[in-house]
Subunit: 141 residues, 3 copies
Amino acid sequence: MRTSARNTFRCTVSKVVEGPVNAEVLMDLADGQHLSAIITDRSVKDLGLVPGTEVFALIKSTFVILAAEDGLGKTSARNRLCGTVKTRDDGAVSSEIVLDLGGGTTVAAVVTKESAESLGLTVGDRACALIKASHIILAVA
Amino acid sequence: MRTSARNTFRCTVSKVVEGPVNAEVLMDLADGQHLSAIITDRSVKDLGLVPGTEVFALIKSTFVILAAEDGLGKTSARNRLCGTVKTRDDGAVSSEIVLDLGGGTTVAAVVTKESAESLGLTVGDRACALIKASHIILAVA
Amino acid sequence: MRTSARNTFRCTVSKVVEGPVNAEVLMDLADGQHLSAIITDRSVKDLGLVPGTEVFALIKSTFVILAAEDGLGKTSARNRLCGTVKTRDDGAVSSEIVLDLGGGTTVAAVVTKESAESLGLTVGDRACALIKASHIILAVA
């Protein structure tokens, strides 16, 4: 499966919390990190998601908020992936920044160029990617 | 009211599934396709949504994930609109791709240029737009 | 036109920065606060946006990330609206939290219940809403 989502993480479902409309799916990444996604109950059933199911978490780079790692307080974003700036490409309005999370894993973010400048992010800097659980699409092979 | 949302679909509500906070609104498009949106219960009440209500589904082009139609497995994205690439405009960081869904309907997506290149999307190719239900805003006239 | 977007802010465009695909639209709110939105160039033209244009900024509550005001560092989110928790409604999976920004303005966020609990947000607490510029839809009357 090939998609335009710049971020595709292979995960294993660890827990599914079902509500009347939405469900929260908790997942383990290979390197001990975790992800949380909110999808509809209907999708949980359609995809047959249970603990142990292998899934791909798709995250569009425009859904990622970057933050300086230092002084980053608590937020409601259920997903926080911290790493080192690997590349930064500036356009006229937007910048694409890729964080190296270690273990061969990266996360790409598209932010406004003004934000990239305001955060002063350059290659080698530490930064964190904040991702709301409701912005993750899950896929099964 | 005109909006910056590049995608506005005229739909008819077919079903509303209410939870304590969120509701899922199922809709029919004119051409037999369907859309699903997650909005708050409060909005369902404010807009007076019941089966039969005519609504507009607003979808920002940056919320759309594109996927090659071939080999596209199951995903949690409740909305999948497949068509043919009609136009592709590249910027320095982003590309805008418009799919022709047939029947005069189109869907616009903004993805990173790297994704557009990686998918090799050119005019005439088949592709699908994946849209999470929680990314759709509903409007009534 | 009424929409399901729980957050609708009346603004005046102060500046438009155009790129080849996307444009950043800077806006003033009535109370001296500012918003920034990323929309396509095409939408800027379709809506005729220039400094002085009155617009409505539509923001879905699921796109808002909440953060404790204390110790909140820099993020790439171009929009930060801080206020006091006015209401909190918990569902099985999601919680809706409304912040009172003062001057009769509020911002609603839907986060996972686990996040609401982890942040310990209760009525009267200070908190900030973080909103990515690319998650705002603009509308003109």
